[in-house]
């Protein structure tokens, strides 16, 4: 295990044994169903830069002529180009929202904790695939930037460990900064609670997509945010703006839940339309379920490709 052998305890402790154990189980499953996503899970380790053939498609003007299958041209007298399922040594970068609202938690795990675990697991996973891993934390600005590298797993884990939610958050500007430094195509995982208008969110994610990155979005919500179980008149204080609002929660519950679900539904719709994986995660639910969801989803996408 890379984390353990490296001796970096600060990051390794994020990879909780029980979580890793379940992820290991998922890994066996993943080898069969998400080969495209978990590129070179075994074969790449032994064969180096191997290429998995996916399909042929007719040559279109603009395609690289180097990818034309000349053997097939010889047999069929037509130009076809070969498509491969994936590439090896992809960049895998986690974009983690560390704005103050992420520090909310109605139980023992705050959203930021949950996001840390999730990011650590994904990073570790990706490193297992020989991907170059990186990490960007942001609130209203970029807080930490770790460029993708095959050696940066420990640094990523360490950075995750000390990440703290402090300032109000914003999506567009920090992501714009981040994408400028990510020239090479890769997989970007955006983890946030997305307390912004749908348009802003979609626009920010489009920024990430525009260079050709494969974007996966995790929308983290606490059970209290989902169910709004508060009772009794209270002053609700916005954790980021510090604005207070006197409310009788019981009366607002249904309205709130409707607004939230319409927000997530709209995001789902918009992201699906723009081929972005979007998953809402309840921070009270087990982490591996989220990963499992993700892997299933990627498998689906890889087949569709």
């Amino acid at each position: 295990m890379a984390a353990n052998s490296s001796g970096v305890s600060s990051g390794a402790q994020l990879l909780l044994p029980e979580v890793l154990a379940r992820i290991d189980n998922l890994e066996l499953l993943a080898r069969k169903v998400v080969e495209g996503f978990l590129n070179g899970i075994h074969r790449s380790i032994y064969l180096g830069l191997s290429v998995d053939f996916a399909e042929h498609r007719p040559y279109m003007p603009g395609d690289d002529i180097r990818r034309i299958d000349w053997r097939l041209y010889g047999r069929t007298d037509r130009h076809y180009i070969k498509l491969f399922e994936a590439e090896t040594n992809a960049n895998f970068v986690v974009l983690l929202d560390v704005s103050r609202s992420m520090s909310y938690g109605s139980h023992s795990v705050t959203k930021l904790d949950y996001a840390r675990y999730l990011a650590a697991c994904l990073t570790y996973f990706s490193r297992q695939q020989r991907d170059r891993v990186g990490l960007i934390t942001f609130d209203e600005d970029v807080v930490d930037y770790i460029p993708p590298s095959a050696r940066n797993l420990d640094l990523c884990l360490h950075t995750l460990h000390r990440a703290e939610a402090g300032r109000p958050g914003e999506l567009y500007n920090p992501l714009l900064k981040a994408i400028e430094s990510l020239r090479r195509k890769g997989i970007l995982v955006l983890i946030s609670d997305f307390y912004e208008d749908t348009e802003n969110v979609v626009e920010a994610v489009r920024l990430l997509q525009s260079p050709g990155h494969d974007v996966i979005v995790f929308h983290l919500l606490d059970p209290d945010e989902l169910e709004f179980p508060f009772d009794g008149p209270s002053n609700f204080r916005d954790m980021e703006t510090r604005e207070e609002l006197p409310l009788v929660p019981g009366k607002l519950r249904e309205g709130y839940k409707e607004l939230l679900s319409s927000h997530t539904a709209e995001l789902q719709e918009r992201f699906t339309a723009s081929q972005v994986d979007y998953t809402v995660l309840d921070t009270s639910k087990p982490l591996d379920q989220a990963l499992f969801h993700l892997l299933l989803h990627r498998e689906k996408r890889s087949r569709a490709r």
């Binding site: 938690g105 912004e196 209270s234 204080r237 954790m239 309205g255 927000h263």
Partner: protein, 712 residues
């Protein structure tokens, strides 16, 4: 059921119920701050403003308000005024006197055990504010426990009670109960009279008037009258034979109840050994007599008993104890006139000679003086119408009288009294007076309270009116506290006068003791009169063969002790010598020497012995104690009638004393204490508070959990 409050002022505390309500309202005023990630959606939700003054934790409020109300109610000491307990409280706290008959008739069957059970039941039923006294009575009454509300003391006192050998006399016990009930400040009074209600113990003139309103609860235990035999009387006539007393005991045995004749064996015991056994046939409800063979009385304090061979249910009356000592005759020296010779004292001598027990030893001397040697063995000197020479005789006689001797002066024609002894007489005598009318004078006044005439008080006990007095001397009484007139003639002149001189007594009879100046000597009353005169003037006290259980003797009273045959005990104690008394049951206690009074209560049936400590070889003095045979009559009286005679009506013009403010207050307090509702209220309040703690903890835990992670 109506509810009352002992301290209604505490109900003002119900205002405290407002406190939890205010707390609930004001607490909600200060709204909780909930940290929430974003108000983005909340801002958009349309809602209608609501007042903050709402109570949300109704259960908590209810628990708190109820707990406060219950605590306040508990402090107000509530009680149901119409409940069974209230009815039990009745007129309020009671002063209960349990008067327990412990006479020996209570030993029949299980009467005593039932009596104790009845008393125990009364004490266990006492209310919290009730007080009770335990008094026992027989012939006398005593308080065992006086007016306490501690039932443990009462019950333990009950356990220490024992039956006595006394007879029943309701008077002292009821008087005692009356005193306790009159002294109490409690509004209700109750007398529980536990006994067998023997008619014999009730005289009808007890003079007991229990305070108005006293409830008398009789517990009659003697409904059945068993067949009872008793040694009713034992007589011990003596005869002097060869200088020794010969006693011929006779006993009278009675039988109450039964239907057939019954043969009973009667045993005579002396010094604990059976001497004789006789049989007597007793008819139903009848009596029989038995006469034992005579025995010689050889030593002082001979203990004896007459008992039935087979005791019945009432054992104490089946035996009669006695203590006998050889009698000592009163030696009488009669000084006749030398001129008339012995004839002048004929009637006197004959009268003294006739005595059942040879009580008098008479020596007659005609003329001449007396010496100290003559008087050494003499108890009484009778100067029978003679002359007493002056000089040595006078001195000897004076010292004789002053040391306790008796002098009887009979004045007739020839009396000559030496002038140096004039102060021995109660007055100066005159020349003879004649009764001119020929029928003579008569005795017009006799002091029947004086021991000389006491036995003649009743009818047919002695008639002095038949005696005629033709001549007498008048006695001019000296003004002295030590002199008194005991009898007067119908003309007012003195017939018999007494003077105390030192330890002795001097009696002057102003007529003769023969048939010349009067015919008293020919009257039947002459003989007992002479006996009384001589006995009295000798100062000798007649001893009794037995006392009755319950009698009390002052051991320092020489006369009383002499009556008991224990004169020497009194002398010893007066001389600071110690003595120890042993009761029939075997317990001992010292008799305190010195000045008294120190009372010895003769409670037990049997023989009390008095010894000198450490002198085991000396024969102990003894006094017999028998039960009062009146108690042997177990016939019960009408209980209701008895109770009715004890309860009195309210005095006219005086309202029943129950209506005082204090009494009413006590009554309410008693009701409240009997119910003790405050305990239950406090208990419920504490349960509610505990419940409140649990509920509020749970609520705050839920609320705290929501708030605590926010911002962490």
């Amino acid at each position: 059921m109506p509810l009352g409050f002992l301290v209604p002022a505490f109900l003002l505390g119900l205002a405290a119920v407002v406190i939890p309500i205010l707390v609930h309202l004001t607490r909600k005023q200060k709204a909780r701050v909930v940290e929430f990630p974003s108000l983005m959606f909340l801002d958009r939700v349309p809602f209608r403003a609501e007042t903050r003054r709402r109570i949300h934790h109704w259960l908590l409020l209810l628990l708190r308000a109820l707990a406060v109300a219950l605590i306040v109610a508990a402090f107000s000491r509530p009680f149901f005024t119409g409940s069974a307990e209230a009815a039990g409280a009745g007129m309020g706290p009671r002063e209960v006197v349990v008067l327990l008959d412990r006479s020996y008739s209570m030993g029949v069957e299980d009467r005593w055990d039932r009596a104790l059970d009845a008393a125990r039941e009364v004490f266990e039923d006492l209310g919290p504010l009730d007080r009770a006294s335990l008094a026992v009575f027989g012939r006398n009454a005593a308080v065992s426990v006086r007016s306490t509300s501690d039932r443990n003391i009462l019950l333990s006192a009950l356990d220490t009670l024992r039956l006595s050998d006394e007879s029943t006399s309701y008077g002292p016990g009821l008087k005692l109960a009356q005193t306790i009930l009159e002294e109490t400040d409690l509004p209700a009074r109750e007398l529980v009279l536990v006994g067998d209600f023997q008619r014999a113990g009730w005289t009808g003139d007890e003079g007991v008037f229990l305070p108005y309103g006293t409830v008398v609860t009789p517990v009659a235990l003697g409904s059945d009258v068993p067949v009872n035999r008793a040694v009713a009387r034992v007589t011990l006539p003596r005869q002097k034979l060869d200088g020794r007393d010969r006693v011929t005991p006779a006993a009278r045995i009675t039988r109450v109840g039964g239907e057939m004749e019954d043969t009973v064996e009667v045993i005579l015991e002396l010094e604990g050994r059976e001497l004789q056994r006789q049989q007597v046939v007793l008819p139903a409800n009848g009596a029989g007599g038995v006469i034992f063979d005579p025995f010689n009385l050889s030593q002082d304090y001979t203990r004896g008993a007459v008992r039935l061979s087979s005791p019945d249910e009432l054992e104490p009356d089946d035996v009669n104890f006695f203590v006998l000592s050889p009698g000592r005759a009163i030696s009488v020296l009669v000084l006749d006139d030398a001129g008339r010779g012995a004839a002048s004292s004929l009637f006197l001598r004959e009268a003294l000679a006739i005595s059942e027990e040879n009580a008098f030893g008479v020596t007659v001397r005609a003329g001449g003086g007396v010496s100290n040697a003559d008087l050494a063995e003499t108890s009484v000197v009778v100067v029978n119408d003679g002359s007493l020479p002056e000089g040595n005789s006078s001195a000897a006689l004076r010292s004789f009288v002053e040391e306790g001797g008796g002098l009887l002066v009979v004045m007739g024609e020839r009396i000559r009294w030496p002038s140096d002894l004039a102060d021995l007489l109660p007055g100066a005598f005159t020349e003879p007076l004649d009764r001119a009318d020929g029928r003579g004078g008569r005795l017009g006044f006799m002091d029947y309270d004086h021991p000389v005439f006491e036995i003649f008080r009743g009818p047919r006990t002695g008639d002095f009116t038949g005696a005629r007095f033709f001549r007498s001397r008048d006695l001019l009484m000296a003004d002295s506290e030590t002199s008194q007139v005991l009898a007067k003639y119908d003309d007012g002149s003195v017939a018999l006068a007494e003077k105390r001189v030192g330890e002795g007594r001097v009696l002057v009879w102003t007529s003769t003791m023969d048939a010349f100046w009067n015919d008293l000597a020919q009257q039947p009353v002459f003989l007992p009169f002479i006996h009384q005169l001589v006995k009295y003037v000798s100062g000798r006290t007649e001893t009794v063969a037995a006392f009755t259980a319950g009698q009390v003797v002052d051991v320092t009273d020489a006369t009383a002790m002499a009556t008991a045959g224990l004169g020497e005990v009194a002398e010893a104690l007066a001389g600071e010598e110690e003595r120890v008394v042993f009761t029939p049951s075997g317990t001992s206690r010292p008799l305190p020497p010195g000045e008294g009074p120190h009372f010895l209560r003769l409670e037990e049936q049997g023989v009390y012995e008095i010894r000198t400590p450490g002198a085991s070889n000396m024969r102990s003095l003894a006094v017999a104690v028998n039960v009062d045979l009146a108690e042997a009559d177990l016939t019960p009286m009408d209980v209701e009638e008895t109770v009715a005679s004890l309860t009195s009506r309210p005095p006219e013009g005086e309202a029943p004393r129950m209506e005082g403010t204090q009494a009413a207050r006590l009554r309410l307090e008693d009701q409240e204490r009997r119910q003790s509702l405050w305990r239950f209220l406090l208990l419920i309040a504490f349960v509610l508070l505990a419940l409140e703690t649990i509920v509020s903890n749970r609520i705050s835990r839920v609320a705290g959990k929501r708030g605590s992670y926010a911002g962490s």
